[in-house]
Every structure is written in C-alpha cells, then in structure tokens.
Amino acid sequence: MAGFQPKKEAIISAGIDIGTSTTKIIISRFSLMNVAGSTHVPRIEIVDKEILYKSPIFRTPLQDATTIDIKGVELIIRSQYEDAGIQSSDIETGAVIITGETATKQNAREIVHYLSREVGDFLVAAAGPDLEGIIAAKGSGTYDYALKTGRVTANIDIGGGTANIAVYKRDKLLGTCTMHVGGRLIEFKDSTVMSISPPIEQLLKQENKSLRLGDTNRHPDIKFIADFMADSITRVLAKEVKAEDEVLLLGHKPNWNEPVEAIMFSGGISECMYEQEITRPSDISYNDIGKQLAASLQSNRRLTEWDWIEPEETVRATVLGAGTQTTEISGATIQVAPDELPVKNVPVYKYSFHGHLEKGLAALGQSIKEAINIYDSFQEGQNFVLYLADLPYVGFKDIQKLARAILQVMELRHDPEQPILLVMQMDYAKVLGQTLLAMNARQSVICIDQINVDHGDYMDIGRALQSEVVPVIVKTLTFHSS
C-alpha cells in the first residue's frame, strides 16, 4: 500500500504579542493529518508546525502612557504580513495576546476586536495574566520539559510590566501566579529616574525607602528594589509568601500544590540573562530596571536551590506560544452547522452529570438558568457553550433523553434562536448532534468533542476545515477584572 499517502491539509496561524514594551509577530503553518489510517475512524491531529516568519521586535506603539495606539499596531502587522508574503485572508487560526500591564488597559478589548476585523478573521485570544503565563510556558519550552521529564517545572516569564508564573508537571497545569515584577516598573532618562509605577511606589513606602523621580539611576534603592523582587519571586516559588510581598502580587497567591523542582525564565528579562537573539533588538533601549533585575535574579542565593533550565525562547516565548500552541483540533466525529462558524469569545459553562444520567437531567434546567444569569445577566442574548462532563456510558435512548432535555433548556435563553453550542467530554458529539437534528431543533447545532475546556473558560471555534474538524482556541481567562 506504499502508494497511498495520507492526505495532508495545511492551515496558517498567526501569533501576535502586544506587550508593555514590545510587539512581535510570528506566522506559522500547521500540517493536519489523519493519523488513524485510511480505514479507521479518522483522528485528525496537527502533525507538524513550521515557522514561516518571525518579525523583528518592535516597540509597542503607545498613544499615551495608558493607551495602545491601535493604528500603529495595525501598521506594524500589515507591514509584517507583507514581508512574510501573507494575505490576511490566508490566516485561519492564531491568537493576539495583549500581555503585561497593557491587558488591564481599557482599550485592550477594543484592540482585539479591531484586529480580528481588520487583519485577519482568525481566532483571537485576549490574555489575562493566567493565560499569558500558560502561553509563555508553552512557548519557552517549559511545558515540553515538564512533559518529558515529569518534573514540577515553573516558567517565570518576566516582561516589562509583569512576571507570569505557570507551573507544570507533565501536561498538567498545577497553578499560576502573577506579580508586579518587570523591567519597566522603574524607567530612566538621561541617567535619572523618569518614572516609578504605582506598585513600586507602594513598595518603596512600605520599606521606608526614599527613591524619587529625578534621582540618579545609581541610587542604592534601585538595587534594593530589584533584589526585593528577586527575593519575592523566590518566596512565591516556595509558596512562602509574606505580608511584605503582597504589594507585588497581582491577583491570587501561588496555588500549586507540589514543590517546584526546576525553573525556567522567559521574557525580556530572560533575554538579558541568556542573550539568545542574534541581532540585538535595535528598537529596544534597556533604559529601565530590567538589567538590574536580571542581575539580581542571577545572584540570588536561594534561587540556586532550583535547577535552572535554559529556555528555548526568551523574549519570543509568548508570541511563539500564541502562534503555535493555542490552537486545538476537535475530534473528527462531530456535528457542526458551517454557516454559524466561526464563533468567538463564548464563555463555557460546565455541567457535570457525576456519572448519573437521570439525576443529571433532573437538575440540568436549574443549572442552565444559573448559567444564563451569570453569562447573560444583562439579557442581551450572550450565548454560552454548554460543556457536558462526567456522563455515564450511554446508549441511544439515553442520547435521545439528553437531546430532548437540551432542546428544552436552550429555550430558557433570552435569545433562544441562537445556535446551540455543545462540547462533550466523551466521544458522543456526532450522535448527539445528529439526534438534535433528527428532533428538528429549530436552532443550528454545533456539537464537538475531544477538546479540553473547563468552567469559566472562553472559547473560539473556527471554520470547519476540509478534514471535517474545527480549530478551537480555549482561553482560560479573558480579561481579569480591573
């Protein structure tokens, strides 16, 4: 049978990382193939990822200190598409990640929507700090390392504004933590302090330090702050957060439950340590506390307790993760209404049957009402994905019961005409979708499986590909509140 080559399909993915200080783009090509053999039930997987183009590292265009210049970003992206020889219509998947402090800025949402309209109808992810840490860990090589070795490995991605920590053991995410630790938290101009960010102001006050704008950049407090940040990271990694560290925490405390064994640094600060980039990013001045922070981390005694693993990517970890690690491929036996795709940014409501069909069906209506209250509290008709988990083994008549129940509860939505969006934890997507159609569901049905999602995630579902699968991007958290 040597003559039969399994068919391959390729899709183009774009990754765009708009950080506090820098913006970069990556274009890659994924090859999809049926890995199950031509006569088996197909299983489509991404079998190869090839990076077609890596942009230079640009300074993020800002309108003012708190607003990203959307037009400026668009200009960069268009010029890079041109250099890469790519049309925006070629791009079928990918993610825009707005990282660091910029993600908290008011215009992050605007940018994401604007970009998905203007520079490619691809799937778009807006990052919150947790997702950012996860994506960086996948781009830096931490995820692969943890998968290969089984060691509990922390990725510490430090950019301009934040340090995003994600801890992995094999393919399991054990936890995340985000800190106000980054290069641009103190900036210099002409050898004097030009700006100090609010959390650092607070830290200075807490530690009775006197550093002020206009002070020389050799002021001893600067080293003190960098050392403090390094110590604080150490305490977070060891889960020994003290009261004085809390000014640097952004959101929750470290939440992993196993001791970290190895650490990897990525992000701009990591570039100061490893200097992997062949051409020094010309547009970047290190006119900030970044270099000092890198030095403080490298000389921190306690950090040597962990094994340091050199990352595969430093500054580009996040963009690489965004471009190559965010897309999942659904199972091949699914049911989708092609006209409804893509759907973007829909929240996921997880409903667990706890292994009991009847009990689960009995309580489904109540839970759906709750879901509607949470996600559509303004009664605007915000749709959601219903994720059906922990179903027992079911037969055909059970599937019919389930389908009937779903048709009923979906009518509870404020806009019941919207498509029914379902993700199945188990391999029942096609039969459930077909059963809904057989029951003459008045809505379109999108029912997919073999995707890892969880309660509270947001999902983008892309257009169906030739191989009859859909690309999916799952976002662990879109915008964190602030």
């Binding site: 049978m1 039969f4 068919k7 031509s38 006569t39 088996h40 039930v41 090589g141 390392y145 290969k148 070795t149 089984g150 060691r151 094999r170 340590m273 490893y274 200097e275 490298q298 000389s299 921190n300 950090l303 040597t304 307790e305 094994d307 340091w308 693993i309 050199e310 036996t333 049911q335 083994y393 079911v394 037969g395 055909f396 008549k397 599937i399 188990m426 391999d427 029942y428 997507a429 096609k430 039969v431 979708g433 077909q434 059963t435 159609l437 057989a438």
Partner: protein, 320 residues
C-alpha cells in the same frame, strides 16, 4: 462440572485478591513471597530505579556563564521519592494501553491474581463465541432471522466457507421479505461473538438508522443471520442488489474485550467481490468506539461510499 459455579468462584477469588491489594498501604508489602524472592540476585536487579530523566541533560543544555552556580550538581533524592516517581510513571503508561503491563511477577511466573484474571477473560472470550443472541433484542429491533449453511457452532468454526453462504430457505425468505435494490442494506450477525450483538447492536443500529434518515439515504429491510461470516454479504448482494451492504457482526473475542462489534462495509458486493473492496470499522464497544457514536459515524461513511461509488482500497484511491 458446573461451569457457572467455577466462574463464580474464580470471580470471588479475583475480587478478594484485588480488595486485599487496595487495603495494603504500600505496594512493596503486598506479597510476602515476593519479598523473599527479592533477596535473591534477580530480585535485586528489578529493584533498581531507572536513571532519572535520561534525556533531560541532553536536550536542555545550560550554557550561559551568567547562570548561577549550583550548590551541588546532584540533588540527592530520598529513596522513597524515587519509588513513587517510578510508580507514577508506570501508572501513566498503564493508562495508555489495555494490555496487562506493570502487573509484577512472582519469580518467573505471573502473580496469582494476574493469572486468574487472564483465565477469567479467556473464559469470557470462549463463552462469547458459544453464546446465543437473545431473541428479545431481534424482536425489539424488528429483525427477522435466517440461517447460513452451517449446522452448529463446531461446524461454524471449522468451515468458514459454509458461513459465507445462505441456506436455501434463507435465500427464499429474504427475496420474499426484503425490499429489492435499496441504497443501503443493513445485515446483522452474531459472527464470532453473540455477546457483541447483545451489548451493542441496539445502540449502533438505532444511531445508524437515524443518521441515514438525517442524510436522506434510503435503507432496505434489515435482517439477522445466525452464524454468518463477513463475505456472506456477497451472496446477499447478489440476491438483493443493494448499493451498499453494511454488516454489523461480532468480532473474534480477544482478551481485552469479548463483546466488540465490527461494521464491515462494501459498495455493491456481489459474488466474486475482492477483499480489498471491503472496509471495516472495528472495536465498537464500551471501551472502544462508543456504539452510539459509531452508528452516527457509519451514516456519514456510507454517504461517502455512495458519493464515490466505491469502498475499501478503491475508495481511498478515488478520494485521492
């Protein structure tokens, strides 16, 4: 001898052994005899923990001079931790296969519970071949029954060729009762596992019929053949002249599952059809492809066969 009784007792013993295992705090003390063996040279060999992360050092070079000095190159790990890592690793591997791996051994032989489990599964396989499909199921699905040229189970096993031919009465009956020249003819047969039909037929069948209905594909009059073989579809094709035959048939039981069903499909099977033009979706059971999902998939697969007017290798070729 009462086979039922033997089976019940074997089951009891296996369960008992299993429950003992669970209540033991650590795996190392689960079997006193093994402890004795492990004092010998061979035993000691198996106790050696594998080298930690043999690949790690190779792939992840640590090059920069700026990196801080490690206090010590080797992190001594407490012995206990190594074992738990190793156990964890074996658990990971076990999740990936239904094969009996990591089951340990007593000297050169399997442990008693492993051996008994094996015997039990083997017995279940034999039972599946010799069992019968309850009439109730065929009734519920409204399937009438016909025979092949095989007289009994022994002959069925010895003479596959007879399982590929309809009895004279069967030919008459299907001619009389079945719609002629449908798009799709569904045939079911116990084949080598009655248990497979008992457990899965209803779900695959109903889901398949629904799927074909959704796609607007017309089906003929389905029926059940006792003691059939896959290539029986050729003769059925000759008699009824359908475009596609899909045959839901019990697979030869294995030690992983004795109740696995296959769907064999062929575009216009007729006497003389070559094997390469058949195709199969196998492993339809609780632990494999869920039967309801298999039925839904088969519908779209049949749609493709009809579209390309080909199945098996010819379909792969035509699809290009």
């Amino acid at each position: 001898m009462n086979e039922q009784l033997i089976q019940t007792i074997t089951k009891l013993v296996v369960e008992k052994l299993k429950s003992n295992e669970v209540s033991q705090p650590s795996a190392g003390t689960a079997d006193v005899q093994i402890k004795l063996h492990s004092k010998q040279a061979t035993g000691a060999l198996t106790e050696l923990p594998p080298p930690e992360n043999p690949n790690g050092k190779v792939t992840f070079h640590q090059t920069t001079s700026a990196k801080p000095e490690k206090k010590s190159a080797v992190h001594p790990q407490p012995a206990e931790k190594t074992i738990s890592k190793q156990e964890e690793f074996i658990e990971e591997l076990k999740k990936k296969t239904p094969s009996r791996i990591g089951v340990g051994r007593a000297g050169s032989r399997p442990k008693t519970n492993t051996w008994l489990q094996f015997r039990l599964d083997h017995a279940a396989a034999v039972d599946a071949v010799y069992g019968e499909v309850p009439d109730k199921i065929l009734h519920q699905l409204d399937l009438f029954q016909v025979q092949t040229r095989v007289k009994d189970k022994e002959e069925y096993i010895r003479r596959p060729d007879l399982g590929r031919k309809l009895s004279d009465e069967a030919k008459e009956l299907i001619k009389k009762r079945c719609a002629f020249s449908p798009s799709v003819q569904i045939v079911t047969s116990n084949g080598l596992s009655a248990k497979a039909i008992e457990e899965n037929l209803e779900d695959v069948y109903l889901s398949l019929v629904q799927s074909l209905g959704n796609l607007g594909i017309e089906t003929g009059t389905p029926f059940y053949v006792d003691k059939g073989r896959v290539a029986l579809m050729d003769e059925i094709g000759d008699v009824l002249q359908p475009d596609v035959v899909v045959m839901l048939i019990g697979e030869r039981p294995g030690l992983v599952s004795a109740e696995s069903l296959s769907a064999y499909l062929c575009y216009q099977p007729r006497i003389g059809t070559i094997e390469a033009d058949r195709m199969v979706v196998s492993n339809i059971h609780k632990g494999g492809i869920p039967p309801v999902e298999a039925g839904a998939y088969l519908g779209t697969l049949i749609q493709k066969i009809l579209k390309y007017e080909a199945s098996g290798v010819s379909l792969v070729k035509k699809e290009g």
